[in-house]
Symmetry: C2
Subunit: 331 residues, 2 copies
């Protein structure tokens, strides 16, 4: 691979001049500029990130496990990945994406890090006691996580999380303000860090108003429209069905809404994620918007600071979701 010196020699100029031309700085005559660029082209000189990476022993690649099979439809994480990409590139990094059927299996992380294919990782889909937190922390592999593991390790590692508890708290309060007292909850099975936190927000808002929802108002299913539909049917079949339902996701809310429509019942419903389907539904869905662009921006800053040995202002950041009120909750 030709070096900048080869280019300078061939063009009969100094290395500094080549550098100025390539960086479009300084006042270089058009003729010199032209000559240097011709030599660059002819020799095939590349100001490559690879050359840079040979210099500082970084691959300049960030790894991200995309666990798309976890739910049938997860546009929030699709957008998050794109935001990670954009922010990584703004810091001169590329993103290597790998699939993970079980996103908590550490083997692929070990292999990519050991082979120096990547310098560090961005994690998502975190779970309680996430084994990736333990492995990467112990192995000294730089990483940041979108989400927490709910262990003391959370105080030592880098993460950004959306405050799900505060989100469902706001949604539940909003329903209470619209006159509802019998409010049901459709969530995921216990053990999901974000799911449990969203349940807590609902319960806290209910208790603050002195409401104690009966056990049968709390339904746990997997994140599929059909399961949301069945959860909705179970709620509607109760002797005293809820008049409103807080759902942990737009996908489940879509199922519950369909069950209500099929039964000819109007119930106030809220979702979570503010996916594009929220706006398309009928009525359009009240939901909680996750600021994924902001999350990605902070995460990449944190990771790049670790990689480059720069100071980091904060290691753990909790950002607030925004309640977007639409027709589904105010009927």
């Amino acid at each position: 691979m030709p070096s900048i010196r080869d280019v300078a020699e061939e063009a009969g100029v100094s290395v500094a001049t080549v550098s100025l031309v390539l960086n479009e700085k300084g006042s270089i005559s058009p003729e010199t500029r032209q000559r240097v660029l011709e030599v660059v082209d002819r020799l095939g000189y590349i100001r490559s990130s690879r050359a840079r990476s040979l210099r500082d022993n970084q691959s300049r690649v960030i790894g991200y496990a995309w666990d798309k099979q976890r739910s049938e439809f997860n546009p929030v994480l699709d957008s998050f990945l794109y935001a990670i990409l954009r922010n990584a590139e703004a810091h001169g990094r590329n993103v290597l994406v790998f699939s993970a059927e079980d996103s908590t299996d550490v083997a692929i992380y070990r292999e990519l890090a050991a082979a120096k294919r990547v310098d560090g990782f961005v994690l998502s889909h975190t779970v309680q006691d996430d084994p990736r937190f333990v492995y990467l922390h112990e192995a000294g592999v730089p990483f940041v996580a979108f989400g927490r593991s709910n262990t003391p390790l959370d105080d030592e590692v880098f993460w950004v999380d959306v405050d799900g508890q505060s989100g469902t708290h706001a949604a539940t309060e909003h329903l209470i303000k619209h006159g509802h007292q019998q409010i049901g909850f459709v969530g995921w099975p216990a053990g999901s860090v974000s799911g449990d936190s969203r349940w807590l927000g609902y319960m806290r808002a209910m208790r603050e108003c002195g409401y104690t929802p009966p056990a049968e108002y709390d339904i746990r299913v997997m994140n599929h429209v059909r399961e949301g539909y069945e959860a909705g049917q179970r709620l509607l079949d109760l002797d005293s069905p809820p008049t409103a339902v807080v759902c942990v996701s737009d996908v489940l809310a879509a199922g519950v809404m369909r069950a209500c429509a099929a039964a000819g019942v109007r119930a106030a419903i809220t979702g979570f994620d503010d996916t594009p389907i929220a706006e398309f539904m009928h009525p359009s869905l009240t939901s909680l918007r996750q600021p994924v662009n902001r999350a990605a921006e902070i995460l990449i800053e944190m990771l790049v600071a670790q990689l480059d040995g720069q100071p980091i202002s904060s290691r753990q950041v909790l950002i607030q979701p925004e309640l977007v009120i639409r027709g589904s909750s105010t009927i």
Copy 2:
């Protein structure tokens, strides 16, 4: 980096034995197996793709430009990317994803290929006279495309495309069979390869039945719900509005459906892509499903065959979309 020879020597076995243990093949005694694995662990021996790539001078990385800003919501290409990832991994390759605000700019392709960060590319979002086809073909960089460029180069390069013309032809025929004659079209501005082909399918079906839609039945807008809404309004404002509308995407169909709902008009509507929103809409949307998994599978096979110098059975593959009939077109 320790080699397989180092492991064999340290464990007092042959290289073949180490290989058998690592590949979990052959009948190796549990003690030998245990000893070899201990040495592998102690020396930190990695059967890395990096070692493999040093051997055959391939980076074993495939590049993909993700142009997510092109439309507000494109779950088909999100799923396509995931399918690319899964198929690439099945062939021992990783995927490096980069963003592209203008996906036809060749600079980033040139840089990644020259720096040997990737061995080849998967293209999507192809356009008429796609400059990437010309550049990559001339530079001899292996690539495959999901879509065509509508130039003679299409006969020389590798692509898989979904037959959009046959898709909208089927949708239009379906509407005609349900008694419609005044059928409008909401598409993208001329020049998009897939958009033009979808328009042709509509026109062909109309002409086959002797219908000649008036010019004002053909509306071209960008791929946003709001623009679909305005297109729907324009159609409904006509003295003789269409009773059915063929749309080039689910996103535009969602806008047209909303315009109909707002005007209290029932019109039969079809979309394209069969995105998750199709099923969530009210009524649910008739649409054309793109077999993205199959497309990704063929594309990666084609690309890997190029990289490994293997024979390739076909260079150009056109696959058929599937008309999924739901409530929106049969009202």
